[in-house]
Amino acid sequence: MRDKILILLGGVAFALLFKDLLAMKGFTESNQGAIFKIIFFHVPMAITALTCALVAFFASVTFLITKNFKFDALAVAVTEVGLAFLAGNLITGSIWGRIIWGIWWTWDARLTSALVCWLLYAGYLMLRRAIEEPTQRATFAAVFSIFAFIDVPIVIFSIKWWRTQHPQPVFWNGGSFPAEWYPTFGWQMLAIMLLAVVFTAVRLRQEEFQREIDSLRRMAHAL
C-alpha cells in the first residue's frame, strides 16, 4: 500500500514537471531570452535543498535530545535528497551563468557559500560511512549536521550582506519575474517539493532495511 502511494505521488510529481515543461514553451522573456526559463528548475531546487537542510538540522537536534534513531534516519534521508537537489541547483546556475555572464563559475559569495554547503553535506554522508558503531555514528553525524547548517543562512542572505554577481531575487520587491509565469512556477515548486518528499520517504524505508540488516547480522553473529 505504502509502495503504491509513493509510486503514485512520484508519478504525479513527474507528470507535473512534464506539464510545466510544455507550459514553459509558450513563455518569452525579452532581456535574457530563453535561458531565463532555467529559473523554473534552478530556484525550486535551491528552495527544496535548503528546506531539506532545515529538516536535517531539526532532526539532528531532536536525535541528540531523544537518542531516537528514527530522527537520525530522517536526517540522513533528507540530507542525501537535499544534496541531489543542491547539485541540480549549482549545475543549472552554472549553465545560466555561461550565457549571461560568459563564464561557468565565479567565486562570489552566493555561489561559493552554496558550493561550501554542498561540500559540507557531502562530508556529512562521508563521515557516516567512516564510523561503524551506530550510536557513535549517529551522534557525530548529528553534531556535524548542526555545524553544517550554519552555512544555510549564509547562502540565503549572502546576496544581501555582500555585493554579489548573483542577481537579487526576482520574485518580490518589484522583481522582474513576469506575473503570468507565477502559476507555472508554483506548480513547478510543488512538483519538486513533492519529489523531495517521495525520495525522502523511500530513503527512510531504506534506512529501516539497513537497521533490519544490522540486527540480522548481529543475530547471525550470536548463533
Binding site: 530563453a34 532555467i38 549545475i91 543549472t92 555561461r98 540488516i213 548463533l223
Partner: protein
C-alpha cells in the same frame, strides 16, 4: 546605405546565433535537471534491490543455522 544594410544583416545573423545558443544552453540545463532526478531514482531503485537481496540472504542463512 549598402554598408548599413550589410551591417544590419550581420546583426540579424548574430542575433539568430545568440538566440540559438540561448536555446541550446537552456536545453542543456533542462536535460541536466531531469537527468539528476532520473539518475537519483535509478540509484535508489538499485539500492533498494540490493538491500532486499541482503535481507533475504541473511534470513536464509539464519534459517539454515537454526
Amino acid at each position: 546605405m549598402f554598408a548599413l544594410l550589410l551591417q544590419s544583416s550581420d546583426d540579424v545573423v548574430r542575433e539568430i546565433a545568440r538566440l540559438q545558443r540561448n536555446y541550446e544552453f537552456l536545453s542543456y540545463g533542462l536535460v541536466v535537471a531531469w537527468l539528476i532526478l532520473v539518475v537519483y531514482v535509478l540509484m535508489m531503485v538499485g539500492r533498494e534491490r540490493k538491500l532486499k537481496r541482503e535481507i533475504a540472504g541473511l534470513k536464509a542463512m539464519l534459517e539454515e543455522r537454526k
